[in-house]
Symmetry: C2
Subunit: 505 residues, 2 copies
């Protein structure tokens, strides 16, 4: 008897027809039945005469399956779903409106990073990326299915998503870079996928899963010289169905419909809504869904959007709007692009580790989540983490990991900004979480950002409070005694400090 763990990936594989175009000419669907669920999915052609269908069970126990269609004969069988193994908490869900938890109720505090094109890099760079991910700095990775054409990204990817041949890239350089280039040198069959390309993506998804990292998959993006961003609606839809059929059964998948959707000038609102409809209909697991802006935010009130995936709209005030955007959209706020730690020429990629860490804390203290990226000039190899992965150079990753540790100690599921009048600095656990978990009122983080107070006074009419001084940059937590009534906590007069107060008994 075959077995698979709960929230694991069960795959049916069967030979089928190869005449004509197996990607479009035949049907292939599969149904998986257990005591508590019946799930129907699209199968897909994986090349070399093989059709597959994938399934992620949500319950333990006995299941049967049947794969059928015009691709070939009907395949049936059964399997047993066992308990999840350690580290498998299931897919992510929104909890208490503004936060996330795995399906087994384990809280998840998002600390993401971005390596847009890491799936398309040579093995040596890929290995370096995994070494950095092993250090546990991040628990979400944003990356693209399609290859990337942009400054620092003129090399061809290791594989292409379609059968065909790419335009000549030998004349490309920073000097001649433009979005509006002649792409007529490409020769693709947009009805025939290259399964090897998608297997590369799947390897990445699994490598992330093994490290407890969510795969925030960017399905479409505007950085393109191959015509992948300007396919017809029919071609787009074929692509979306293929992507969903292949990736949905991986529990750590998030769907990012696009990066900078508003730079995909050939797409209209109805296109994005149509992709979303395909996704809602064909992803039976309801993985998290978002869509990321360059300038104008998408309307994050749309019901299919599970969380607001944001890029800053202003150079100076951005994550500081987190609490306002929570109110506006009533959803988790995830800042996926808030300028990267680095030293490139562009303002979106040259802030300090201190400033990026501050932005992470500001987002977190207001009940949202921030994302990392790194863009240091690499004159030798032109390898920048933001796009390729490779080695990290910055100072923020360690601090982001430290913030995650602090967040993981939150009673309940997450923080929200405090309501003290004139007090911009207090974050307290989200009220709802709080009551739900019966932790009792009594957990506050007072974060001072670029302020440098030498002390702060507190008034706590009720109970005794344990105080700790947190140096968010030096990553230290220092006991500052137990207090009651009005009391003063001394601070070092440095930037990036916080005071944590926890009510005792």
């Amino acid at each position: 008897m075959q077995t698979v763990e709960k929230w694991g990936r069960f795959e049916i594989s069967a030979p089928g027809k190869t005449e004509g175009n197996p990607f479009t000419d035949y049907t292939c669907t599969a149904t998986f039945k257990g005591k508590n669920e019946t799930v129907k999915v699209d199968g897909f052609y994986d090349g070399e005469g093989v059709y597959k269908a994938r399934f992620m069970p949500s319950f333990e126990g006995e299941y049967s399956y049947e794969m059928s269609g015009t691709f070939g004969g009907t395949v049936t069988g059964s399997f047993t779903v066992t308990a999840p193994t350690e580290g498998n908490h299931g897919p992510l869900r929104v909890v208490n409106q503004y936060h996330f938890a795995y399906e087994d109720t384990t809280p998840y505090y998002s600390v993401g990073t971005t390596c847009y094109a890491w799936a398309h890099q040579p093995e040596e760079i890929h290995r370096q990326t995994l070494e950095e991910l092993d250090k546990g700095y991040f628990n979400k990775m944003r990356f693209c299915v399609f290859p990337k054409h942009y400054l620092h990204n003129f090399r061809d990817p290791e594989t292409f998503p379609y059968e065909g041949t790419p335009m000549d890239n030998s004349g490309l350089s920073e000097e001649t870079f433009t979005y509006e280039m002649d792409i007529s040198g490409n020769n693709w069959d947009f009805t025939r996928f290259n399964p090897e390309h998608f297997r590369r993506i799947e390897r990445c998804i699994v490598e992330l899963q093994e490290r407890g990292i969510e795969a925030d998959i960017i399905v479409m993006h505007p950085y393109d010289r191959w015509g992948f961003k300007s396919m017809t609606a029919e071609q787009d839809d074929l692509y979306w169905r293929y992507v969903i059929a292949r990736f949905a059964a991986y529990r750590n998948v998030w769907w990012s419909l696009a990066n900078e959707y508003d730079l995909l000038f050939s797409k209209k609102l109805e296109d994005w809504e149509r992709y979303a409809k395909i996704l809602c209909e064909r992803d039976p697991y309801n993985h998290l869904r978002g869509i990321h802006n360059c300038m104008a935010f998408y309307n994050h009130s749309r019901p299919w959007i599970t969380h607001a995936s944001l890029q800053r709209q202003d150079l100076y005030r951005h994550v500081e709007y987190t609490d306002e955007y929570r109110t506006r959209w009533g959803k988790p706020i995830v800042w996926d692009e808030i300028s990267y730690e680095g030293n490139i020429d562009m303002g979106w990629g040259n802030i300090s580790g201190q400033e990026l860490t501050r932005r992470f804390w500001e987002a977190a203290m207001r009940g949202g989540y921030a994302g990392h990226g790194e863009t240091f000039v690499d004159e030798e190899n032109d390898i920048l983490w933001w796009s390729h992965g490779g080695p990290l150079h910055g100072e923020s990753p360690e601090r982001i990991r430290f913030l995650h540790r602090i967040l993981s100690e939150t009673p309940g599921y997450g923080l929200k900004r405090g309501s003290g009048s004139f007090d911009e600095t207090v974050a307290v656990p989200d009220g709802v979480d709080f009551l739900a978990f019966g932790g009792g009122a009594g957990y506050e983080i007072h974060y001072y950002g670029f302020g440098r107070p030498s002390f702060r006074d507190f008034i706590k009419p009720e109970g005794k409070w344990k105080a700790e001084v947190i140096d968010t940059w030096e990553m230290t937590i220092t006991d500052a005694g137990v207090h009651e009534g009005k009391f003063r906590i001394k601070l070092p007069g440095k930037e990036y400090m916080a005071v944590r107060l926890t009510k005792v008994d």
Copy 2:
């Protein structure tokens, strides 16, 4: 024959009646006549039987005067106005809508500071303040006529503005501080000024003038335990007329109607407008006039307001609105409070020298001006520059002086934000100034703030450009060659850098 230099202060002094209340019972006015102007001013009672009238001539040549009124006999005479001596450029005026120049057309780039209560401190502190001012960091000082009651400000001032006795201050402390205290222990005659108090202010005005510093006089303010903020309309008006009669003839005076006018809860809009009317009617020299907010901005479109004197309304984005506020009000933008360098507990007084310097540059690059203040905890003496003056401790003053040096090299009268699309970083001379001064287009400062580019590319289709790299923190200007067409300027990948481009023939 008496002489006075142009824009100097000419004073008539004469004995008069002392019966009753000389501050209110008698009239005293004076008229000064020259070939090009006839100026009528209010005289004032200076105590000890002496009445005075003051005049600031705007032209060279022969003048006659006559002081008369019920105070005593008529006094007449004549004097000669000579050319201004070195360093005397006259009072300040608004030029080219957004900037300032002295009346002799010398440009003035405002780099202000604030020592609210320096006029009311003991001699030793006063001396220390002057020593700091001698270093040439600042060219404007904001300070109050009335003494100050606030945290760190519980000592009585050296003098009070009225005859009478103050409430007991022995029980005052940070612990018991409140705005809503019992002030019944005061006993003042609001119709009898204490001339000594005003002479202290005048000494300060002169000391500033001697150092090339404008005296931004705060006539009213809310930090009060003596009842000076809640006098009757009649008492207020008497005070305003006395202040104008005494101070208007000092060429370096600016009128700040109030600090944080919106915290003076007993005053209404019509009160502020009435004070402004008194000022416009009785200050014959039209010194600069502003009114400073705590939360809500005053309506700076009011015609009597010469420049917008602002306190930030947001913790994160403030001076970055300079160009928008220029457009909104069509007047110079002067940020008089944008958080101080220091380490006190409050967010308005604990930013770093780097951050305050950045705010100065941001304001300047967008065509406005910023103000300094310093609030370091002083456990021994509780002397904080922001209020008392005394010794400076911070790192920003030197950098502010350096910025002033750079601004002084602007062709024409001042900068405005550049109009390059997507380019937030360019400041260019205000177009109008430019043409007016025929410097020819060709002066740009590209400022990168907290960005850390390792290089920047420039495209200059016309002419040759001299490039300099400015380190605004280290205060260095490094030659980066002469370039044309498309060229790259290398930068150190640090925060707070700028590139200056000047067209050369």
